[in-house]
């Protein structure tokens, strides 16, 4: 498992032996799609009626986002794999924390809120208000949910910040590691547009720059100091 791929049909990396086209699709596609998708993030007014009206879309949006979060994690793992850091602890722990806690946050604040408000449509107005009081804090202020959000964000920042550092140390172009750093920074400010869009868009630009350089110079993708020894 620690051997570099050498067959001409496969891309660089050590963990997942994927055809070059599949690898590039998984690297580039998810950040681009998620960057575009976050523009559609619902932003209803903070009252019972608005949340009930938006509840189906609110729930559906976050269900799709949940799947895209998993795909973006694969993209980050593949990028780390190309930098030979897929098994490094900041990658594993950071992405593990991001996947678990951001997914939990997304599910609770997004799907849970949508699901709950959908079920209140047929109730009397007074009960609708009471139920709104239960779920109104889920997306932002419920203490348990805040912790899930903070931990999920921390995991993303840890991994992307680490990969920016690794890319810089490995001699990647300045644009590559700066955009990786920006992907970490913008996510600190939130996942809906504009900051989520900027975060995932920055990751997309970083991986495109890397793949573009790899396509132009297949043998020079990795500077010498970052290449692992093939035979010990």
């Amino acid at each position: 498992m620690s051997n570099l791929q050498t067959s001409p049909g496969t891309g660089p990396g050590t963990l997942w032996h994927l055809p070059t086209r599949t690898r590039r699709l998984l690297l580039i596609g998810p950040p681009l799609v998620l960057a575009g998708y976050t523009v559609l993030h619902p932003n209803p007014d903070h009252n019972a009626q608005a949340l009930m009206d938006a509840s189906t879309w609110f729930m559906a949006f976050h269900m799709v986002q949940l799947g895209l979060v998993g795909l973006v994690a694969i993209s980050v793992f593949l990028l780390a794999d190309e930098l030979h850091r897929a098994s490094a602890w900041p990658t594993c722990i950071g992405m593990g924390i991001f996947l678990i806690f951001f997914s939990a946050y997304d599910t609770l604040a997004g799907i849970g809120t949508g699901l709950a408000m959908r079920g209140t449509r047929e109730l009397p107005a007074s009960q609708q208000e009471a139920l709104f009081d239960i779920v109104k804090d889920w997306p932002a202020f419920e203490p348990w949910v805040i912790w899930l959000s903070l931990l999920g964000t921390f995991g993303w920042v840890l991994t992307l910040g680490y990969l920016a550092f690794v890319a810089r140390a490995a001699g990647a172009s300045r644009a590559q590691w700066v955009f990786l750093g920006l992907a970490a920074f913008f996510f600190l400010l939130g996942h809906p547009a504009p900051f989520g869009t900027l975060a995932f868009g920055s990751l997309f630009i970083a991986v495109v720059l890397r793949q573009w350089r790899a396509a132009r110079d297949p043998d020079g993708t990795l500077p010498e100091k970052s290449r692992p020894a093939l035979n010990g």
Binding site: M1, V69, G96, S103, A104, T107, I111, G112, I134
Partner: protein, 208 residues
């Protein structure tokens, strides 16, 4: 270095399923309703988030260094499993608990509607079925892919135990199925991990 790595591997491989068994034993057999205490229930499902990522790492370690197709499938399924099971935990565990906890403080006339809200979270329509069975079946798929990946290397008894445990665990992490399923899975892992290796058998043969 090799010894410390092997020790760490065994701590994770045996520790995470053991903790999952403990969580299952502490888990109430039914979710809390209005008026019930919710602290333990919420706490267990927050703790379960750590165990889900730990379980993902266990599956990753089990196929570490295995280069067959089943191992690749297992590695590819780990992230979808982690995301889906986290979603299940967040809705049916954390959201349920928080909703019940908040509803307990409502005036009596509003609590009936709150009960409806809680049960909306576990709806038995298509969405609920996808969430519940999707997460469970993804667990089964990734666990069976791990078993298939190890079939040339691990003892058949260990593989049977892991498969049975994985199948039972699909029915839920609450008792009795959760601890039984995870216990069988743990037994299979321990059996495979502590089996005599070819090098050890050779050295034993040489020593006699």
């Amino acid at each position: 270095m090799v010894n410390s790595r092997r020790t760490w591997r065994r701590v994770v491989l045996l520790g995470v399923p053991s903790l999952y068994m403990v969580l299952g034993l502490l888990h109430p057999t039914a979710n809390p309703e209005l008026g019930d205490e919710t602290e333990l229930f919420i706490g267990l499902h927050i703790a379960q988030l750590f165990l889900i990522v730990g379980l993902g790492y266990v599956l990753w370690l089990l196929v570490e260094g295995v280069a067959n197709r089943a191992a690749s499938v297992a590695r590819a399924l780990i992230i979808p499993f982690v995301v889906a099971y986290t979603a299940l935990d967040a809705i049916l565990g954390i959201a349920w608990g928080i909703a019940a906890e908040t509803a307990n403080d409502l005036p009596a006339e509003d609590q009936r509607g709150a009960g409806r809200l809680i049960h909306e979270l576990v709806s038995t329509d298509l969405r609920g079925l996808i969430l519940y069975w999707g997460a469970g079946l993804l667990w089964l798929a990734v666990a069976l892919a791990v078993v298939a990946a190890l079939k040339d290397d691990a003892p058949p008894g260990a593989l049977v135990s892991m498969s049975l445990g994985a199948a039972v665990f699909v029915l839920g992490h609450a008792p009795p199925m959760g601890p039984i399923g995870m216990g069988l899975f743990l037994l299979g892992i321990a059996w495979a991990e502590f089996r005599p290796r070819p090098a050890e058998m050779l050295s034993q043969a040489g020593g006699t």
